[in-house]
């Protein structure tokens, strides 16, 4: 599903964000990504969601190599991936339902289908009765659930989440993780970056640990020093 082979990513400076990084995530896996700030987590997500290209090596999502697709194909690749960020990235001047509908509008889905699907996914994240709210009228946890609903509404095969609980208190964080578990149970491949060791400990999932741009550890066993 996701494959990175001997990926190097450098930025002017030079800053070596990733060094000889290899990774393979199969369809339906739930993988955590941990590492201190500056370890290369955001770079990794940028590469997977086609917001950047590797300096050398390759990134493969589905059966497409990111470095081999044209600029015009990038939006179509992104439609196969749901992305959730720590700061939610919601349009503040649009309602919850308008935010969630965005990916379906972009693929040109019919109005009636959009309405039904938006209601369905809002029900799934527990926000059925807040579809006409604006983001600013909602709590951080609710906004993150809207962001997850938006990432899921078009049924992507992959959901990547960069610190989805980073701005939330422990209770809300757990709520979001429960939601992600439910999403995973429906067959979506999940790749979640987090600093929250409590969450990782509870789930007993595969954990990939990054340090200074290199893979430090990859396995189910979890060490507190990784986070």
């Amino acid at each position: 599903m996701i494959e990175l082979s001997h990926v190097y990513k450098s930025y002017p400076g030079p800053v070596h964000a990733l060094r000889d990084f290899c990774l393979k995530i199969d369809r339906g896996e739930f993988v955590f990504l941990v590492g201190p700030s500056g370890a290369g987590k955001t770079t990794l997500f940028k590469l997977i969601s086609a917001f950047d290209k590797p300096t050398t090596g390759y990134v493969k999502v589905g059966n497409k190599r990111i470095d081999q697709i044209s600029i015009g194909e990038v939006p179509y690749l992104r439609r196969k991936i749901g992305v959730v960020f720590q700061d939610f990235k919601l349009l503040r001047d649009r309602t919850v339902s308008e935010n969630v509908a965005l990916p379906l509008q972009i693929i040109g889905e019919r109005d009636s289908i959009i309405k039904n699907r938006v209601r369905e996914v809002l029900d799934q994240v527990g926000l059925k009765y807040k579809e006409e709210y604006y983001p600013e009228q909602m709590s951080g946890g609710e906004q993150q659930r809207v962001a997850i609903a938006r990432a899921l509404v078009h049924r992507p095969g992959i959901l990547i989440a960069d610190e989805p609980t980073g701005n939330l208190d422990p209770e809300l964080s757990q709520e979001i993780m429960n939601l992600l578990e439910r999403v995973h149970a429906q067959g979506t491949t999940l790749f979640v970056a987090t600093h929250d060791k409590g969450i990782i400990e509870k789930t007993n999932r595969r954990v990939i640990s990054l340090r200074e741009g290199s893979l430090e550890r990859d396995g189910i066993e979890f060490s507190e020093t990784n986070v």
Partner: protein, 314 residues
Amino acid sequence: MKGMELNSLKQMFNSYIRSWKTNGINHVTTLIVLSFAFTIILSLSTLTLNLERILTSWGKNTEITVYLSDSVEKSTISNLEMQLNKISQIESTKFITKKDAHLEFKEQMSQYAPELMDDEDLASALPQSFRLNLKPHVESNHLASLSEKISSFAGVDEVSYGQQWVSQYSAIVEGFKKSGWFINLTILLSSLFIVGNAIRMSISQKREEIEILELVGATNNMIRVPFVFEGALTGGLASAMAITLSYLVVVAEREIASSIGFFWNFSQQIAFLDAYKLVLFILFGSLSGALGSYLCVRKLNSGWAASRRLGGSH
């Protein structure tokens, strides 16, 4: 839940209104500057049109007087009349005898020089002539060549078209038209720059929205279209404002013309553009706005744009 179509007219219009609410000063500034630029274009066009109208009105009244030699014989006069009637630019000819000329002279000058009215020498001094009326399509700048041609006919002493200066005026109008094109082109290019600048500000203001659209897989065109729409709307509004301002300029021109040029009745020749041209001008404004905006946004989304602002550490 409302209509869900992305980039529907309603949605783009609402986005434009929101943009005004959050960035009103920039929008007002752009609109004022653009309106003045368009006002200059429109006023120059109107002025050129009116100068041409004045020229046409003078052209309609243009007469050529062909004075005959004293010794000319009747047969020569007949031949000359035939030759004049063959000239395609001439609508009609009228032969004025010495007697007719004297009567006209008396009629026109009796108030100013009554002592001359009974002067027999004067009556005989006035020559016979042909008075020629030209067809409406004859342009004033062709009068000189026509006059030269008639001068060469037998029996002709002198040709006079009382408005030789019309030719010079025509040359001035022509020069004005040419320089008008240059000025209008310069202003048009500046307008594209002004709209582009406004759109650049708008892009900066909507950076986050663009990033989110990129995140969820919007294509380049989906991101660009609302900005082009915004440019078209700004251009359309500015051209509508320019029409209002230019109309006020025309009203002022009429006032000035009626006060200083009463004798020539200039003010009747000063008109504003007709409705059809005004609609075209609004379309021109919208297209200029859309073009300025498009030139600005065509490289907006390189496919990787949002990565620059996604933040976080490497």
